[in-house]
Symmetry: C2
Subunit: 247 residues, 2 copies
């Protein structure tokens, strides 16, 4: 059976333009081209088209579909990769949704979109250099924008949470608690949650989280807040233990 381009379009739900495009990029060639230039498709072509459209609905790009249909037999792997990227996209959307909701609440509350004063007592630019070296300029700038977009109340809460975590760590150290005790793990969980907020919902990988602990030990300013080198080491170990168990 041989069908015209419109027939195929109707049967498959694609448009004739799409079919010509697929021909142009070599994804789906007509089974025959008439002397008048008309494209004709047979059943095999129709089956292939259906497969293409099915994969397209899954969100794959046309080159990826071409590879997959070429049948390099690592087909499932290609889909796995695609799946990972779909999940990343979803996470990104989740974070955007949360941020937009927060922004709407702020604007409804009459807040400015972004504080113009660059400094407000809490020097969030303190670790600018480290952040830029580790995560890049844009990462710092992005975090800075986020911070300046918060309401005064939100900023206050963020700082409170930090102080609270810090105080509890110090108390645990004074009490001689183990970094693997439930008590300390609970503090570290709050520490972790605090960090996630500051990262606008992006979750550090276990390695990243442990790496931040190492930073605490290496940097005096961090250590000073946590009672010297021992304190910083304790916190790092607690973070490593938490990462091992819960991340």
């Amino acid at each position: 059976m041989e069908r015209s381009i419109q027939d195929i379009a109707r049967l498959s739900g694609a448009t004739s333009r799409t079919l010509r495009h697929y021909g142009d990029i070599g994804l789906l060639e007509p089974s025959r081209i008439g002397v008048n230039g008309y494209r004709y498709y047979d059943d095999d072509a129709l089956v292939r088209l259906q497969r293409i459209l099915l994969l397209r609905e899954l969100g794959l790009g046309l080159p990826a579909i071409a590879d997959l249909l070429a049948g390099d037999r690592e087909q499932a792997d290609a889909l796995e990769r695609h799946l990972r990227w779909l999940r990343l996209e979803k996470d990104r959307l989740d974070r955007q949704i949360g941020s937009v909701e927060a922004t709407i609440r702020r604007m409804r509350g009459g807040e400015e979109l972004m504080a113009e004063e660059m400094f407000d007592g809490f020097d969030h630019t303190q670790y600018r250099q480290e952040v830029e070296e580790r995560w890049g300029t844009e990462a710092y700038a992005s975090g800075d924008r986020w911070w300046r977009s918060l309401t005064a109340a939100e900023k206050a809460k963020f700082r409170e949470d930090q102080k609270s975590v810090q105080a509890d760590y110090l108390a645990a150290i004074a009490a001689g608690a183990s970094v693997e005790s439930e008590e300390v793990l609970a503090i570290t969980r709050r520490h972790y949650d605090w960090l996630v907020v500051g990262w606008q919902g992006r979750r550090p990988t276990p390695e990243q989280f442990v790496g931040m602990g190492d930073l605490y030990v290496a940097d005096e300013r961090f250590g000073a807040k946590y009672g010297g080198l021992e304190g910083a080491t304790f916190v790092r170990n607690a973070m490593a233990a938490f990462a091992e168990r819960n991340l």
Copy 2:
């Protein structure tokens, strides 16, 4: 304070190319342009840029950002619209993720990507015309592709579920149950879930669900399966009751 384009780029995390683009489209003009053509930005421009970048991180398009910053005072509304569309995107991703997972399982199980036989006993093309009239050609074609991508086991389960729902409806009718009884609502919930599967995870709106019930009454073939007009009417009422209570 006046800064060069690179200074602004570094401070904001944007690239100079981006700044020139924003200039081109009128989203952010330099505060001054030197006789040599160089762009210079003052603090006001920097603040505006930060706001632009903040909104961009929320996923807004540049024209939407321009409108929003023009301050038509329905700012929050624009964000609400954006939020709705973000949620739609997220739903779409959720469905794609589920479909890709299922497809991977099928391929790992050695199944073909898509059955070539167009008919297999269960005539899923039965309601083709109605579907195309109500939801468009592409909607039918898409459902058809989905159906042919299922494994035999999955197809069998889908039919089983339908039969089971049907049998339970008939029993409930025979027992004289009320369409608002818990018993019937439970059946309708299964009916609804069955439908959602067939729609590949897309959830019908309450109106759509009730509309399908009306179709049951209007179409003899549906009615025949549910014991005549009365049966179809019962099912429609049950669907309406369910929609009212649970959707």
